[in-house]
């Protein structure tokens, strides 16, 4: 049933021929000597960098061929849990490429950047409304940097109140960036064990909430895709102890227009525009991780803040914020991603955003309903936008979550997230997103059920997978033992 294609195994360096060129540069139109005359010798490269020498067709064909070795949302269903691999609208791309946005220098005088500043100002307003927060900074480059910014604001807040708190509580179900960002912000990370339902253990939380705790950081819905139903008890409990509560907003797709972090009692939350707001993942980035805060944290927001002069309606960057945590990246944020998110929000409107959450939840529960006969659930009750199942049963036949992932590739689907969250054995974290059709979900579920059968009847088929990809299973150990991290010319 599967058909084969001729393999391609080149690196651009291997297409190189001395003296071949793919570039076109203007002649020098100024009457000055060449670089050697202008710059002291010691600053000029002794030997040229060993870069490729190829033609423009070499480049176009090489990268076109390489791209064909990928699965992407544009070509395949991509149910990678926690990553919200939804459709990235093409019109967003057109807008981000308008000269007025793409060719605008960050240090253009504000008078010459009013359109860009207005877009940022409006987007921050919209995100604040969506989150029920008072202020939003668009500067963080991704979710993890949003976390860092949020925790640093919490830190600054406590210090401003003369409190030297040293610990942050993080559930054992949290994504790795949560503890990593918290530690980077100078806090001792205390891991909270989740209860058997995978939720916050209130008693455990209460036990850990001592005077040294600066913040509690949780994901809502949590990484099992379940809504933390006792969220108000949690936030009240924390606030009663002067502890700030941070919401990891990676799962925002589940709650758009349904509920808001601010209304749940959170003091801070970040967004992943590359998840909820359709900016492309681009093979790993760039993303954008705006962070929203309640009013009491506003003084600590990163600089600069985009503000609007009420009377003149003029937009500008406000740098005069003495209590700010400072800057997170050199400029104002991943503006190109902000344009895409803005375009998306304007396209959807209030009802559209709500429909996103409704359909994301519906799709996830549909997949769960169809799979639960053959895969163990990680929690009871309805899930939100994603579901986590366990390959525990398949494991008995020697088929792991990883094996199932590989087999899915052969059946024409990208794989769910595997082995996350850590608290679920052989976890398969499936996030269909609202942009996938029932037909696609059925095809995927049929494949998952087929694999469950194969696990019992023909596990070898699964262990051999993938066989339809440009390469088959790769030797991770070799890669780590003898790291080859760059190409070197064959000697």
């Amino acid at each position: 049933m599967a058909t084969a294609r001729p393999p391609y195994d080149k690196l651009v360096f291997e297409l190189s021929a001395p003296g071949r060129i793919a570039h076109s540069l203007p002649e020098c139109d100024v009457p000055v000597g060449d670089a050697a005359a202008l710059l002291p010798r010691e600053f000029l490269r002794a030997a040229p960098a060993e870069l490729p020498e190829v033609s423009e067709l070499d480049v176009v064909r090489h990268y076109s061929r390489l791209s064909q070795m990928n699965y992407g949302v544009d070509t395949h269903f991509y149910p990678l849990g926690s990553c919200t691999m939804k459709y990235n609208p093409k019109v967003n791309e057109d807008m981000a490429r308008l000269d007025g946005f793409a060719r605008l220098h960050p240090l253009t005088p504000e008078a010459g950047a009013q359109g860009a500043l207005q877009l940022m100002w409006e987007l921050a307003q919209d995100l604040a409304e969506v989150a029920g927060m008072d202020h939003v900074s668009l500067q963080p480059a991704a979710g993890a940097q949003g976390e860092l910014a949020g925790v640093l604001m919490i830190r600054a807040y406590h210090l401003a109140r003369g409190e030297r708190r040293t610990k942050v509580l993080v559930p054992d179900s949290a994504h790795g960036t949560n503890p990593a960002s918290t530690a980077l912000a100078g806090y001792e990370v205390v891991q909270l064990r989740s209860n058997e339902a995978g939720e916050v253990d209130l008693a455990g939380l209460e036990r850990h909430l001592d005077a040294d705790v600066a913040a509690f950081m949780i994901t809502q819905p949590n990484t099992l895709g379940m809504f933390e139903s006792r969220i108000h008890q949690i936030t009240d409990l924390c606030h009663a102890r002067g502890v700030q509560v941070y919401m990891d907003g990676a799962n925002f797709n589940a709650i758009l227009g349904i509920t808001r972090p601010g209304d749940l009692g959170f003091d801070v939350c970040h967004f992943n525009l590359h998840k909820t707001f359709t900016t492309p993942h681009g093979g790993g980035g760039p993303g954008a991780g705006p962070v929203g805060v309640k009013a009491h944290l506003a003084p600590f927001l990163p600089v600069p803040v985009v503000v609007r002069d009420e009377t003149s309606g003029v937009f500008r960057l406000d740098w005069k914020r003495p209590q700010s945590i400072g800057k997170l990246q050199a400029f104002w944020g991943n503006f190109g991603m902000l344009v895409r998110a803005y375009t998306y929000i304007r396209t959807m409107g209030p009802d559209g955003l709500r429909a996103v959450a409704d359909n994301a939840i519906l799709n996830a529960n549909y997949v769960l309903a169809r799979l639960q006969s053959h895969y163990d659930r990680s929690a009871t009750g309805y899930c939100m936008h994603e579901c986590v199942v366990s390959a525990r049963r398949q494991k008995r036949h020697g088929v792991t979550a990883m094996d199932i992932a590989k087999r899915l590739l052969d059946l024409g689907f990208y794989a769910p997230s595997t082995y996350f969250p850590l608290i679920v054995e052989e976890a398969l974290m499936i996030e269909p997103t609202e942009t996938e059709s029932r037909e696609t979900l059925d095809d995927f579920c049929d494949a998952m059920l087929q694999i469950a059968r194969e696990a019992e009847e023909d596990p070898k088929l699964i262990h051999d997978a993938p066989v339809t990809t440009p390469v088959r299973r790769l030797d991770q150990t070799l890669a780590a033992r003898q790291p080859r991290l760059r190409w070197t010319p064959p000697r």
């Binding site: 540069l25 993890a144 991603m337 990208y414 991770q476």
Partner: protein
Amino acid sequence: MRYIPNTPAQQREMLATIGASSVEDLLGRIPPKARLSRPLAVAPAMAETDLVRQLRAMAGRNAHAEACACFLGGGSYDHAIPSPINHLISRGEFFTAYTPYQPEASQGTLRTIFEYQTMMAELTGMDVANASIYDGGSALAEAMLMAAAVTGRRVVAMSGGVNPLYRQVAETYAEGPDVRIASVPVGDGGTDLDALRRAVTEKTAAVIVQYPNFFGCLEDVRTAGEIAHAAGALLVVAADPVNLGLLTPPGAMGADIAVGEGQGLGVPLGFGGPNLGVFACRMELVRRMPGRLVGQTVDIEGRRGFVLTLQTREQHIRREKATSNICTNVALCALMATIYVAILGKQGLRRVGELSAAKAHYAADALAAVPGVRLRYHAPFFKEFTLELPVSPDRVVKRLLKDRILAGIPLKTFDRAHRSALLVAVTEQRTRGEIDAYAAALARAVA
């Protein structure tokens, strides 16, 4: 809703399969009082044609580099972007893929990152480069923290020639780990090396310099390195990789860690983001490196293949002990840079440096020839230089904007001591005509 495929009929069928009567049923776990009882107060949905019209109008209000002659730099440069880049990165298989966690279905991304790592190692003259950091500022900050981790020391000596915006980022990142940043002043364009000697002690984790520095001047990186190494500190060099096709690479001047803003390598100006944080170091330090790394290996049939490797440094494995908290990086910008470097190649990238340097020096002469205007420093510069103006740089910039000239960056925003300084950048894209027009307009503005 064109982005939501399931029809009401399908939704009903799906609910039946689930055993629920409505989506509302699925929300039972959400406490009623937590529910938003009204629609979100965001603007109503717009049709594609109306929305595009509005965004074109907003974009049209910006003084962009297609409509104006751009002499702005300061960490973001208007280098020409060859046409194929946008066509290739826009291919959905690259554009809409996630981090290559399933390598067999991600060889395209993995191979391009491997090529990128190789190119950045070549340009910086270092052993190994990672898959990217957010931007030049955060890359510098990560380098600072890495140096502290490697040396177990808590102080870094940072040159005043480092981009003040990068320094502000470093200060933010220094807060948690409690790293102290000691400033080293700049003399006549370059870092004051005597001051640097005085600043560096056995507590110093790293000496951090930028090359060419924020003012455009070429730094004596070698000496800075000797000073650092003599004290057991690391040398961290921030450099724009576009320039390294022509300039001696940090690796050849003693750098232990080289970082930089790679935006000039084919990434659009984009009002400052996304950018490309380049991060490279010596091989011995690789296990302390932040960010992702792609390595070469083989598949079970012995075919060459590529995977994410040395992941035990990373947050998803090491959690609070990770070398960095970075997860999503800027892979697509790294792809732009990879294709850019492939297109410019061995000869072209060098030529971009030569052209930029030549035009910058021509511009410096032309502008400094304007009565009352002079070059602020005597140190040799590359594609960027600092002018001293007889009148307020802010006024000059406003005035020239009317002539569709983006004249430069007034430095007083960063340091009142630079009240009358204007930072001017010139890339290979600027024409002699634009430079002469700038000089004429400047003469009128300061007259």
